[in-house]
Symmetry: D2
């Protein structure tokens, strides 16, 4: 990854940074400060933490005469990098009313200016290469947080009886979902993992072989209508459909439906969206379901969840370019999709049955940056594809997202296998 | 309580309402939105709830053609009145980023205007009397929340490693605390409870007799210096000094000092105040201690906590008018106190050994407003006096404040008895 | 308390000790080992702890050449005496399968023999007096644990779907409860606390004066029939009847009835007793209710709970000797009661509205034995009288029992005041 | 699986059943009744539940005129089979003092006699086959519980400061552990899963292909001495060595050593064993470590944990027959092992990095018996081999044991891979 044109890098950097601020633009300072649960973070914290990432991993080692913007920020905006030192307690990020949102914007501007200066001033090739690699990682990291900004703010807005919209914008009725087809794939030895010179995270490497039995994937995601049939058939009341831990989870919280679904007194179904409360659109993909729900649904429907190797292999064979993403992030909005295996990208992350673990020969980077992925490889499950909240151009067949089996606040959906 | 001069009532009403907004003035919308723990509430919530109180208990029954400012506010800003209907969950008040602080200010202005109109329009004497009684209760209620705004925001600001000040204002060194003297009181039958026509809460009535043995009260509050001696003598490490439940509380949280005290690496002591982190002033009253700490200290010092009857009786006999309250709420700041039994009002609420219960013949009001005091009469302890955060002119010998034995975020202090 | 006749003391000692073993006789070693909740203890632990009390507080300081029966027992069977050293964690008493029940019986026999020898060998008057005082305290302590053995084993047996009886013995239908009358008492200064030379606990002293307003007490306890009317009137569903903390307690556990009541499918009511599951006898006193339930019932019935001073004063004026206690401990069984104010003793402990606190001038004993009562004087409520499980001859008007407001596994009942 | 010789089946059945009782023989009824934590069960419960399994899955469908031994046992001794109906709450198994241990022994004898009669009376071949399959499953199930009896009772005995031994028997010094060698295995397509006609659990099927990269396994388990070096190097204090969830687990419980290790005041190390507290033998395999500890150790030692496919493949290639198991179950006791890849069986279960999931094409049985394995396939990790507590002749290369990543009370150890 060479840095032949520093100006281009500055522009690329600033475009990603600007988009993050644009995502926060519809929100008040109050909206940006609150934390709805320990798993989610305030928008302001996302804005500051992504800046901290550039300050800590690029400016601190590379900027001549580096001095931190504010000494306390090193602790306040560290997420989980033990190698960097102390951290503000995660469940209390919503209590950081200081620094204010305006001060965080100043922090962003300050770091942006210094990064731009640094990019323009590095001359030595080895340093340029190192800088390019860190910038790329930092921007990918920032794009991951762009998605979290949307999912976390959705969760926050859902806590209020006012059902406020992130964007007050109508959600048009989706086109009818096409009939579900089964796309058959031959088995054998397949090659898994990132290919080529483009960026990938360390967890997508090394590229390696796996043996896969013949299988088939559903041509599209499970729809709200299909999932509603499961709900109405008493799916949340039959222990036999659920993993044991999933059943305990259902019982402990008395669950009966996906997290953002509601039913009013006359039986009509609604879904809370980033556009506010909307009638449940039966043609759109079901979203915000946990692995437990996805697995129980698959069980009920006579299918199963794919492994991540199956998903990746089929996506390479049958996938097509994603369509145009929607203005209001919500699954089922993408237009212009083509191909046989649809809704791979831009709708919902798709649960797989694969536990998140290291590929054979996986090595983490040295230093604190090595904490990025490897240390989370236990008790999490891999999701493939991308969602309506994933930044455009940030999708690839080898990408491995991961969440615990009970997570529901991400745009997660179901693609069946058999 | 007659309402002869409606204009005077409007002015009185608006003065209290304005002071509440003035207390929030040094704070940003972000500061006003956060909730540091379930026991504390966001400032914005206090601003809205006090308004809800007037809307619900005055406008709703008395305003012709009443319509709520916003139907959802009935639920969002109900604190604990089951008789009024549902309530937003208390631990999630910090998630109400909507309505915004600006909208809450509009809510206040709207209700204020309507209350003023109502005051000016009531003609019938019985209704006027009822209105005057409710207005008085609502304003007392609002003043109680003024104090909570200060204690809750102090707790919030203390969560940040930035140690921000509510008011960036120096805290001058206090004058030396006078020597502690014991003020002896004869025992016998004493009269307890509110006297006269002025306002009091229902829990201060009926006025009644109690028998009290001869006792003595300390002439002033326990100072930081005296309490520091207890800390340094290992007071938090000796089970024998503590109530059993207090000892469990100390051990479970590994407590070693009052909640806002800190010791830096070279052994110097600091105290977090509304003016930020300050050197611990040994001459000022110790504050932010729980009943458990107050009781253990008294045990160690060879004294005990007074009963509420002892406190009230002595305050009537020996108390003097409180001095001028400080600009920056902090104990030890009052100037101009006189008399033998000092620091009764305007410094710290003083723990008594009396459990909070009903006076003989106590009756609650009918309807939801009857939930104000009576239903809390279990597992709480009475505090007497008033604190540096209590609104001026809001102090009386019969006033009964109450908190659970482990509460530390109020301005609570210790007056010894024997 | 002189010890003129050592043989009499040995006999008195052994009689109490034997009765403890007799209470355990209907139980297997397995029954004696289990702990149903942290508040309750295994019967085996009671057998050992009461022995530890004599070993620690009498043999250790007074026996020449004292050596402990087993060094580890000092820790294993210490209940809450911090002055004695470490304690086995209370919630894990049921995991002490060693020592066995047989070994604990040997421990008892060994300590009994040594205590008898000690009683016979002490010559000096001051030592005799000290020994007599400690023996008396130890035997009172053991009798308190006799009651706990019954309540704790009842709670244990209630955990099993087999509903086993402690004593398989029929519970005859009770005689009709007499009509409830109100016994009026004049107010004024009354004398409270233990009188005379007989034994009392330190918390019954000093004897002192209190001022009491005129009041009336119900002539008998509230019956199951009366309480059932409260249940059937929706008493557990009306927030307005409950203390706020009581209402939270009801909601958190979805409570609808007293802890040992059950209703079968055709609506018939049953009560779990030490004689197994029995039809609910409407004439007997309601028992196993918490302070929250007692207070809500009183509220609903238009009365209130008495203060402990009212109870004690009325019991002195109008109480009569208790009748003959039942073989199967259950309220409503006593025969031969006389007088106007009935069921004071031998049926149910009676909740008062008085928080458990020190009498004026109260002093604890020095040393670990001083931990007996004083350190529990917070967040507990006083119960007066005695229950069907209280050892005979162990009742007096000044006796102060105490439990937290939510406790239900003791034989607790309701006497109304007004 | 034909049942040509019913007498042989009866004898086989009874031998397994007798061994279970023999394992309980050194224990008192009290020892058999207690439950040390929700994950462990009382020995008495194991004795009853294994009997319930035969009664429910064999006698109930196959015995003419079946009537349950006791109707309540269906609920009391159901472990997790939702298809069978209600269950007694798992954390309260230690409260079932009734039925007594003697009654449970009668229950066992009754069911044994009826099973023997049934075996002798079945004539039809299809029924015989079904019976043989269920008997085999029931006996395998019982043998799994034999191991749990030992691990659960070890955990129980470890709760007492008396450190009682299950078997008072000396643990001889182990022979020096041989030098660790790396056994290299070629990669490629390997066949995984159970082969042949012998019994296996459904989770060992279908036999299928996997692709494996070249790898090497350690020739023996990690020893106490090697693990002690990790402890003394501060292994439990370096976040960088741990999975993120493992580090949270270490911090939350302040862990510094394996669960049964202790260090006395002069620094000597001891280990609690089924033979009581013993000096830590540095030559024996470390045991009772969680996956988190195993992974952190491997990280520190420059290795990694094997996958289950690697383990199974290597065990087939290089494994040898297990030696003679020890009388006192403890790792490092087996004599007579041969081969290059040692300590595969009979010492410690060996953590793999593989999450427990279904093999391709896995199908559960229909009915409640299908709940045996499949529903646990989430958030658990596979262990391979067998332990010192596993019944003899119950070991095979394809066997898949599984526990959550934090489990420490099983005989779990570490074999490194690279």
């Amino acid at each position: 990854m060479l840095m032949n044109d520093p100006g281009l890098w500055v522009a690329r950097y600033q475009a990603v940074r600007d988009r993050t601020l644009a995502l926060a633009a519809p929100l008040s300072a109050e909206d940006c400060g609150a934390q709805s649960m320990p798993d989610a973070s305030p928008v302001k914290w996302h804005l500051a933490h992504t800046t901290w990432f550039f300050e800590t991993f690029i400016l601190e080692p590379m900027e001549p005469g580096f001095a931190p913007f504010h000494p306390a920020f090193r602790v306040l905006f560290n997420s989980y990098y033990n190698g960097v030192g102390d951290k503000h307690p995660r469940p209390q990020r919503g209590l950081l009313t200081r620094p204010s949102l305006d001060e965080v914007r100043l922090y962003r501007a300050n770091v942006d200016a210094r990064v731009a200066t640094l990019i323009g001033s590095v001359r030595e090739n080895a340093v340029r290469e190192r800088l390019a690699a860190l910038l790329t990682l930092g921007l990918q990291h920032e794009q991951q947080h762009q998605e979290l900004i949307l999912t976390d703010v959705k969760h926050l807005l859902a806590q209020s009886a006012l059902w406020p919209a992130y964007l007050a914008q109508p959600l048009p009725a989706a086109a009818p979902a096409p009939a579900l087809e089964w796309i058959a794939c031959e088995g054998g030895i397949v090659i898994i993992g990132h290919e080529g010179d483009g960026f990938c995270f360390d967890n997508e490497l090394p590229r390696h072989r796996q043996f896969v039995e013949p299988f088939a994937l559903a041509s599209r995601l499970v729809t709200n209508g299909e999932y509603l049939a499961f709900v109405e058939a008493g799916g949340y009341e039959q222990a036999a459909l659920w993993l044991a831990e999933g059943w305990d989870w259902v019982c402990a919280q008395s669950l009966r439906r996906p997290v953002y679904w509601q039913q009013d007194e006359d039986g009509s179904w609604f879904e809370f969206t980033l556009g506010g409360l909307q009638p449940l659109d039966l043609q759109r993909p079901v979203t915000h379901v946990s692995l437990f729900e996805a697995d129980a649904y698959a069980h009920w429907a006579g299918g199963r969840l794919p492994t991540e190797a199956e998903w990746e292999h089929a996506a390479r064979l049958h996938g097509t370019a994603p369509g145009t993403p929607p203005r209001l992030p919500h699954p089922g909005e993408v237009s212009g999709e083509e191909g046989t295996l649809r809704q791979l990208f831009g709708h919902c992350w798709q649960w797989t049955s694969s536990s998140y673990g290291p590929y054979p020969g996986y090595r983490t980077a040295t230093g604190a940056i090595g904490e990025y992925n490897g240390k989370f490889m236990v008790n999490q499950y891999v999701l493939r594809g991308s969602s309506c909240a994933t930044p455009g151009g940030h999708t690839r067949a080898s990408y491995r997202n991961f969440f615990p089996a009970g997570a529901r606040w991400q745009f997660t959906g179901i693609r069946l296998a058999r």
